[in-house]
């Protein structure tokens, strides 16, 4: 039996409110792709961050080539040949690709020309098409990820840990990545692939470890697994099937006409986008993040000015209304960045429920906040949405991600009497919370509201939407009825390729 390259024994890690890893033991062999599978919150990222030296475990040991090793910082991990590509890149947007790659790797005076050439050569070795002198902030997310990979390769990593790498890629880019992984592993290196997507595991892994609630529940070679079996291990219980009764839609509630919106840097983020949402309809927007989704949400919500075009709500234009006025008109907005845009972490649950109501006289007695009414409202939300909190005065920062999102959803669903925009509503949530949010979205649709669902999770789009539009490079390429949609077509559209017409969209 070959000694494994890396072995973790009995790792336990606490955070201030949660047990992230409990007694984790696993091994990684040379030349193998190990998939760490589990839903959000299972502890997969945490254990790998312990290996990478970003976190210190309370208990347990690490062995590299059978020797007990202490990894106290990423520097140690990198010196041992371990590289990690995290979900949130640690790149400096204002610096160039070369500057980001050589950070910490070179000392003394920098010869930009020589270093750029080195980086270019390295990129070409792996078939990456990157200009080393371009700025990170000008690159697509997929290319930024390649820069992160180059960083590890520059340090001669023998193990690449990838945390949910396909979350930011088109299906085609994801295939590209898988090909790279296979090539990398064929050279005798190892890859740990952290994911919650079963399909990816089946495609790329040699071995699968399933984690749930901080513990390991299964550790098998891929050949011995089935999708159903893995799913059962991941979730641990049967989730009731989500009923989605679609009804025909008669009235149009929201009408987007030739909308053009500029992004914060002045570039065109949305170009002549047109579609409508009926009352009692869920319109899903599919697409890889960075193609204008956020600007679409923010344009409708009132945070970005409209360059041209119009937004009609119940036939009346709202494009000149301020955010405050749109909230009053009944536009609810669950933003993709729940922590920065949707919540004030240092405030209580009650006070967070007040966020969109602070101008509404119905909530105030003169200049004073009607605390009783607010607390009652918060208590009702806690009950209706099964929010796990010690009370309406608990600070929101103490809630789990899923419960935090429930607070946002509870509030926005109420604010959005007519329209609710959901942008990545279930990102980072565990299955229970995801189910809850989905049920809520369907319930709101059934009340006759217009729902705009923006998500990079295709399964979510397919499960909930009545109609699907694909955003690519700021343009709405096509609108398809759910019954007529298939993943392959949508995937191609997401990458800018229009299947029937055979046209590719130039960036």
């Amino acid at each position: 039996m070959e000694t494994p390259f890396i072995e973790l024994k009995g790792i336990t890690k606490y955070f201030s409110r949660v047990i992230a890893n409990k007694d984790i033991s696993l091994s990684i062999g040379k030349g193998e792709v190990l998939a760490l599978l589990g839903e959000n919150g299972a502890g997969k990222s945490t254990i790998m961050k312990v290996l990478y030296g970003l976190y210190h475990a309370e208990e347990g040991d690490i062995f590299i080539n059978a020797e007990k090793t202490t990894i106290s910082s990423p520097k140690d991990a990198i010196n041992l040949g371990i590289g990690m590509i995290q979900q949130h890149f640690s790149l400096v947007p204002r610096h160039t690709v070369t500057e980001n790659i050589i950070l910490g790797n070179k000392s003394g005076i920098l010869d930009k020309a020589v270093l750029s050439r080195q980086v270019r050569n390295l990129a070409e070795t792996y078939g990456f098409n990157i200009d080393p002198d371009s700025f990170i902030m000008d690159l697509s997310v997929g290319l930024q990820q390649k820069v992160e990979i180059l960083k590890a390769l520059y340090r001669e990593a023998e193990l690449l840990i990838m945390d949910e790498p396909t979350a930011v890629l088109t299906p085609q880019e994801a295939d590209n990545l898988m090909a790279f992984i296979r090539e990398f592993v064929e050279r005798g290196n190892s890859v740990v692939f952290i994911t919650h997507k079963l399909k990816e595991v089946m495609k790329v892994a040699d071995r699968v470890i399933v984690m749930r609630s901080g513990r390991i529940l299964g550790n098998l070679p891929k050949a011995e697994t089935t999708e159903k079996g893995l799913s059962a291990l991941m979730v641990g219980k049967e989730l009731p099937f989500l009923e989605n009764k679609r009804r025909p839609v008669s009235e149009i509630g929201v009408d987007i006409k030739q909308l053009t919106v500029l992004g914060p840097q002045g570039h065109v983020a949305l170009e002549t986008v047109s579609f409508s949402i009926g009352k009692g309809e869920i319109f899903g927007i599919a697409g890889v993040s960075g193609n204008g989704q956020q600007e679409l949400g923010e344009g409708i919500g009132g945070l970005l000015p409209i360059k041209s075009g119009d937004i009609l709500l119940d036939g009346k234009s709202i494009k000149d209304l301020s955010v405050k006025e749109r909230i009053a008109a009944g536009v609810g907005y669950v933003h993709a960045d729940r922590l920065t845009a949707g919540l004030v972490l240092e405030m209580s649950l009650s006070e967070n429920m007040f966020l969109k109501n602070s101008f509404d006289p119905a909530w105030a007695k003169n200049i004073f906040i009607n605390r009783q009414k607010l607390n009652g409202y918060a208590d009702k939300a806690i009950e209706d949405y099964s929010i796990k909190a010690s009370g309406n005065n608990e600070l929101v920062k103490g809630l789990s991600g899923g419960n935090q999102q429930k607070v946002v959803v509870a509030r926005e669903v109420d604010v959005g009497r007519k329209v609710i925009i959901f942008d990545q509503p279930t990102r980072g949530l565990d299955l229970g919370a995801i189910d809850y949010v989905h049920k809520t979205i369907l319930a709101e649709r059934d009340k006759g509201k217009c729902v705009l669902l923006i998500s990079t999770e295709l399964s979510e789009i397919f499960e909930l939407s009545d109609r699907i539009g694909v955003l690519y490079n700021g343009r709405l390429l096509r609108i398809i009825n759910r019954e007529d949609a298939d993943i392959e077509t949508i995937g191609m559209l997401m990458a800018g390729y229009e299947p029937e017409q055979g046209k590719t969209h130039e960036p």
Binding site: I19, K324, F354, S358
Partner: protein, 362 residues
């Protein structure tokens, strides 16, 4: 949470009180060590100090006299701090308030009945300080200027302006020194404890502090100010206009500092002279820091600093210790309080992990 736990003080509050007392004690202790450099014995010095503070009604009341303007300048800093803004300009806004108060008092003295004139002087001080502060807020809202820098600079400009006015327009009839004439007796803020200098300004200060607390935590506008301070992005999404909030926060902040001008001119000095109360701006910031920007805590912090100042004066008179010992005591206390914040957070985190571990064990 079961009933019995709710009755006891929450551990966080207990930590706060203990660490604050500890910090103050350490601060005074280390300052005492400094006295050794002068050949004085800190224990006997502090001993005598305590005796003087409590023996004499006049001296004891002076603590609150000194605390009064500090409450205002501390509130000024704390108010904008809640909006994540830095008003370093309280000293300048105080000066402008003083100028307005003395101008109003000199001008109206004898013409308008006392109480009304007092009210007008207060209003003038509030408006003057408010406008001076609001300029910073406006510049921040309109030009995204750095509020820290601009408010800091405004202090020096205010000082220059005040000195200029004292030398020219406001100068005393004698034209000998750069100071004003004294204001007439009618325009003194009434004394509330006979035999002392304690005037109604202190009551005003405490009332205003409580009003600030109510404003920040009980009103919708106060809520919006706090949202802007804690999470400006969420504020934007909530339809709150950050620029408007900046202006309002600085306006109120400046007005608060201006009030100190009124209490000092009409309550204590009864005139305006160059270089009076040159440190209350910075001390206000220190107190706000100590009290973690909580208006109620500020009242106590101001009283503490007031005690330190009176104490420092007494030390100068009785033990020959220079008045700079006051700033040393203030400085050390502030530094220790800052350090204590860190330890309090550590203790809190450790407590939570312990709780978690015990929950797991069950």
């Amino acid at each position: 949470m079961n009933r019995s736990k709710a009755k006891l003080m929450s551990p966080k509050l207990r930590d706060l009180i203990i660490t604050t007392f500890l910090s103050v004690f350490l601060g005074l202790a280390v300052s005492g060590l400094m006295m050794l450099f002068l050949g004085a014995d800190p224990l006997s010095v502090y001993g005598r100090l305590l005796q003087f503070l409590v023996r004499d009604k006049y001296t004891f009341a002076d603590i609150f006299v000194k605390a009064t303007p500090l409450v205002f300048t501390a509130l000024a800093f704390a108010f904008t701090f809640k909006a994540n803004l830095y008003n370093i300009g309280a000293q300048g806004q105080f000066n402008m308030g003083s100028v307005a108060a003395v101008f109003c008092s000199l001008f109206l003295g004898g013409i308008v009945p006392g109480p009304i004139a007092l009210l007008l002087a207060l209003t003038a001080a509030v408006v003057s300080g408010g406008v001076w502060g609001m300029m910073v807020g406006y510049v921040k809202a309109r030009f995204q200027a750095n509020d820290f820098l601009v408010s800091m600079m405004s202090v020096f400009i205010a000082l220059a302006l005040m000195n200029y006015l004292l030398r020219t327009v406001l100068i005393e009839a004698k034209r000998e020194y750069p100071q004003t004439d004294t204001i007439i007796h009618d325009l003194y803020i009434p004394i509330i404890a006979s035999g002392t200098r304690l005037h109604a300004g202190f009551i005003l200060a405490v009332t205003v502090a409580v009003l600030c607390w109510i404003f920040l935590y009980k009103t919708t506008l106060g809520y919006r100010i706090r949202v802007v301070g804690m999470n400006p992005v969420a504020a934007k999404f909530a339809g709150i206009d950050a620029g408007k909030i900046f202006v309002i926060a600085f306006l109120i902040s400046g007005a608060l500092a201006g009030m100190a001008g009124f209490t000092e001119v009409n309550g204590v000095q009864h005139m305006l002279v160059q270089g009076f109360n040159p440190t209350i701006g910075a001390e206000g910031i220190g107190i706000a820091i100590l009290a973690n920007a909580n208006p109620i805590g500020i009242i106590f912090g101001a009283i503490l600093f007031g005690a330190l100042k009176v104490g420092g004066q007494i030390l100068g008179q009785t033990s020959g210790i220079p008045s700079s010992i006051i700033e040393i005591m203030e400085g050390f206390v502030m530094l220790f309080v800052l350090i204590s914040y860190y330890f309090r957070r550590r203790i809190e985190t450790r407590r939570e992990i312990k709780k978690l571990k015990s929950e797991v064990a069950q």
